[in-house]
Amino acid sequence: MTRQKRSRHRLKRTVAPYLYLSPSLVIIGLLMLLPMVTVISYSFQNSAVLRRDPSFAGLKHYQAIFADPVFWASLWHTLYFTCMSVVFHMTIGMIFALMLNSDRINPTLRNILRVLYILPWLFTAVIIAVIWRLLLEPNGVVNSILMQLGLIGSKIEWFSSPETALHAVTFANIWAGYPLFMVSLLAGLQGIPKDFYEAADIDGAKAYQKLIFITIPQLMPIIISISLLDFIWTMQVFPLIWITTGGGPIYSTEVLSTYTYKLAFSSYNLSQASASAVVILLISLGLTLFYIRYQKAR
């Protein structure tokens, strides 16, 4: 190659990646970063979206939200819903992964069960919500089984009584979400070198010792990164709660996403909804930062 040709080639190599990335960057810039700036600016305006020349509102909408007891109730419900979901997703995912990984079951059975255990994952949130509404109907099959077993005396209105509604939606979400952990942990289990266990056998280690000193430490990176992602995603859950309880009864299952949605599209208070959306964004960003740091440190 001549020098001129080579320098043109180099120029192409420098410009090319930006060209390949440009469609993605334009879309992410215009439809993700710009809207994020927009929602922040809405939160400082009076009658955002609804008026052409909204006036500056300062921190008014944030103050309104922080003074609203329903906001704090939603925050608490979100936290309960999310923490319980993540803990049980992890526990159930771990138990199922360990069971499926055991050499005590035959390989065909293992494969069939693996497919069946993943099932809840294949259903859309809306469908999961409808299924659980049917199961937990006062006259539904769950009540009927529990009554036959003598566990409850009378029919429970799981989704429509304030005492049980939050637990019921959390349970449905636990059922819907454990397969992500199961699949990831199963892949992790298969990656642990066999000699670790053989060495432990020679030392006479018991099964639970192998679990605590080999399996769990080896799986820790997966457990931490999936827990973080699961936490971020569960915090944002909307359709499951919207369809099962709609946030009710009497706000007992109101979470940040349904609270924000109602502010925006039932009360048409888009400014205050924007402030609430920004609060959710900040919580998510904080967790995301943590997640990225962790991934980089790995």
């Binding site: 192409k12 420098t14 090319a16 990646p17 930006y18 060209l19 390949y20 990335l21 469609p23 993605s24 960057l25 879309i27 439809l31 993700m32 710009l34 994020m36 927009t38 979206v49 199922f96 069971m99 079951i105 069960l113 069946l116 255990y117 099932l119 294949l122 259903f123 859309t124 949130a125 809306v126 469908i127 409808v130 299924i131 509404r133 049917l134 199961l135 539904g140 009927s144 036959q148 699949v183 990831s184 892949a187 056998d201 990164s225 971020i232 915090m235 909307f238 369809i243 924000t260 949605y261 959306a277 920004v278 959710i280 964004l281 960003l285 995301t288 930062l289 997640y291 990225i292 790995r298």
Partner: protein, 280 residues
């Protein structure tokens, strides 16, 4: 090594299998109940004691759904939007992934971090500005509104998935094209794309699923019945006939078919997509 077939050992094996059955009940019973209820009459769904298998097997719920043009339109909308978004996403993501995988450039690290972090942006946060934009550009209640908004959620995942796949392909292949005087553009289409089909399929599957499952934006950015997608259709059905449980279950079964079929046919690709966001 431990001796096998001691009594204790056999007990553990039995206990494990009992636990597996309990797990199976937990995982599969709700789905079994959905499936069988869709073949029951409405009165039988709430029969006491509950019937495990439909006593009077009937397809009336399916006939009601499939014979209703309004409901068929929900399915058409869902398939159409998901298909268009999948094609666009895969094309755009392929280009970006090629840039990430085959070039070193200034800002690569921060752009990569940006794309990873966009995965976790709460949909509800973007909903309000999207609503403002969609209304002011007069595309409220149109396919374009759904396609554009879905694109922005599918793209980050698709880019990460495709980049991961392209990174597994040897670089000698496209370098051979460069030695022959070809450009990186030629290398992409002549060499990379033909051998990236598994990655492209996995990305398409995952993108399709994300679109198929979307609820919040379809709920807010469309209004007329003819623009609604399947998840919204199920919700509408619930509001209209709160007691037609067999129809709701039949619609749910039909709405789950694409996911179930993809899973059964292409389990490998499916799992690759589902765990993409979480496993580096």
């Amino acid at each position: 090594m431990r001796k096998r077939h001691t009594t204790k050992d056999r007990l553990i094996t039995v206990a494990l299998h009992l636990a597996l059955v309990a797990g199976l009940f937990f995982a599969a019973f709700p789905i079994y109940w959905m499936l069988t209820s869709s073949f029951k009459s409405n009165t039988e769904i709430f029969a006491l004691p509950p019937t495990i298998l439909p006593k009077a097997f009937t397809l009336e719920a399916y006939a009601a759904i499939l014979g209703d043009p309004v409901k068929l339109r929900f399915f058409f909308n869902s398939y159409f939007v998901a298909f268009v978004v999948t094609v666009l996403t895969v094309l755009i993501a392929l280009l970006a992934a090629y840039g990430f995988s085959r070039f070193n450039f200034r800002g690569k690290g921060s752009l990569n971090t940006l794309i990873i972090s966009t995965q976790t942006i709460p949909p509800i946060t973007l909903l309000i500005p999207f609503f403002g934009l969609v209304v002011s550009y007069r595309i409220f209640d149109t396919y374009i509104a759904l396609i554009l908004t879905y694109l922005v959620f599918t793209l980050p995942y698709a880019i990460l998935l495709m980049t991961g796949y392209l990174n597994t392909l040897p670089r000698d292949l496209d370098e051979a094209v460069a030695v022959d005087g070809g450009t990186s553009w030629t290398a992409l289409w002549r060499v990379i794309v033909p051998i990236s089909l598994p990655g492209i399929v996995a990305t398409s599957v995952y993108t399709f699923l994300l679109c198929w499952n979307e609820f919040l934006f379809a709920l807010t950015l469309t209004k007329s019945t003819s623009m609604r997608t399947v998840p919204i259709g199920i919700q509408l059905l619930m509001g209209q006939h709160a007691f037609e449980w067999n129809q709701m279950m039949a619609m749910s079964v039909l709405g789950s078919l694409p996911l179930l079929l993809i899973y059964l046919i292409a389990q490998r690709f499916f799992l690759a997509g589902m765990t993409a966001g979480s496993v580096k």
